[in-house]
């Protein structure tokens, strides 16, 4: 069922729709919590809290943007409240970005891995700077568009674009050496 239908049913007090919505987004949100550096138990608590809020507010629930962005954004805010810090996303100059990855050398294990693109790409993702990694994963794994990512992380869409751009160029450069 589409989110918009689920929300309409939740507005009308439908707990089954609420349960369905929870199950639809749980795996995504717990994965997102992991990117954000949360401990698994904290992630579970935070997600349950976000859905509890959603249920309590169900009658006056107005989700102007997409429900998906709302849920991610709420999870992010709660994680920050929990950790007691207001994390600022900022774009570092590019030279800071990939200092722990030597893009121009192919390690022996990478040669072995060249057939296994999936594992390789996973490694490249881990080589990204923290914020670039979160943004790339939100785009690639969670299929959020750059407007949604910007809204969730409370940063400008241009910052998201730049992060994605850098990440993709980095991957292309790395893949080139494995080809």
């Amino acid at each position: 069922m589409e989110d918009i239908d689920l929300i309409a049913r939740i507005n009308a007090n439908d707990r089954e729709a609420f349960n369905a919505l929870f199950l639809k987004y749980y795996a995504l949100l717990i994965d997102f919590c992991k990117y954000m550096g949360a401990k698994p138990e904290d992630g579970k608590d935070v997600i349950a809290d976000v859905f509890l809020d959603l249920w309590v507010k169900r009658e006056k629930l107005q989700i102007n943007s997409s429900l998906k962005s709302y849920l991610y954004g709420a999870v992010r805010n709660k994680l920050f409240t929990l950790s007691g810090k207001a994390m600022q996303m900022q774009l570092l100059p590019e030279e800071h970005a990939y200092n722990h990855a030597a893009a121009d050398e192919l390690r022996p294990d990478e040669i072995l891995l060249r057939k296994d693109r999936k594992m390789l790409i996973e490694r490249f993702i881990n080589e990204l700077p923290e914020q670039g990694k979160v943004i790339f994963l939100m785009s690639w794994q969670h299929q959020l568009d750059h407007h949604e990512i910007a809204q969730i992380l409370n940063i400008s869409p241009n910052t998201v674009k730049t992060h994605l751009y850098r990440a993709l160029n980095y991957f292309r450069k790395r893949i080139l050496f494995v080809k």
Binding site: I30, A48, L52, I121, R172
Partner: protein, 349 residues
Amino acid sequence: MAYMDEHHYLLIIAYLEGRSTETETQYLLQKVQEEPTFSEAFEDIAEIWSARKPLPDKGGEAHDVLAGLNLKIDELEPRESFTHAPETPGIKRTATIVNLRRAIAIAAALVIMAGAFWVYKVNRNSNGNTGASLAETHTGVGQKRKIKLPDGTEVMLNSSSSLQVATAFGNDKREVYLQGEAWFDVKRDPQKPFIVHTAQVATQVLGTHFNVSAYQTDSNIVVSLVQGKVQVDMDNDPAKRVILDPGKQMTYSKKSKTAKVTEFVTDDITGWKENKLVFDYDSWPDAAKKLSRWYGVPVELKNGELLRCKLKGTFDNMPLAKVLQQISMVSDISWKTEDKKVVISGKCN
């Protein structure tokens, strides 16, 4: 490798995600055919995108967290009818009972455990054979129902109430979940404690007669004891512990989070079982809720002054109009029917 601009990368991603418009798609396909560097970039990104793995399956964990969440919601706002999380095999709801061990040790016969903040946990059952589904009995407005539980315990459920019986009922504990009001005549079995869970108060007994009134919309939770001895813990605070004797009732105020113990007349508390509508110094707001549950019509108080009045009286099997007429004879109220609801106005006398 030729770098491209941000805009084109985003377009390719949008295309791969199926989000691009028809115009954008045509534009991309044309560029792929005409520009080798663009084609190369497109292939690279497509390759990265196709490497996406599905997220790990969190089905079991999701159901666990959801079950806990549903219990929390039920505590916050009991519903007319229970619909719980989808059933998950091997999961059992267990109440965490604060001071339970100590309470059992102290009170050989009867123990009431209460806590304003009741924490339910979902524990995985090690032998995995207990389902989470609960048998449920529900009464609508103006209805009452008598239930006989498998252990011989008799329960009379007042109107607008629900009682759920855990499937594991009787294995080592006898646990039920109550919303609203019920009278319990518990079959004695010291080996298997009988536990009535409500939103804020859990009552544990081994065998007794008692009444629990815990309507979510009422301002008080009342536990009335007819036989035996009970221990009541509130707010997880041992300093607030109260021991109840027969004929005594504990009234817990949700607002002040304090309890007081008073005498009660058995008929005042259990009269509802014999179709007697009883007001025992109920505040008018609580009395209005009781009337609306009893007769199934919304009852509204118009005059602010009424909010501070209390009402005492018993009405034996009477229609609503007669009840209101009798109340108006002894107090300064009037009532009228508006849009299928009853509006009461007046003042204390």
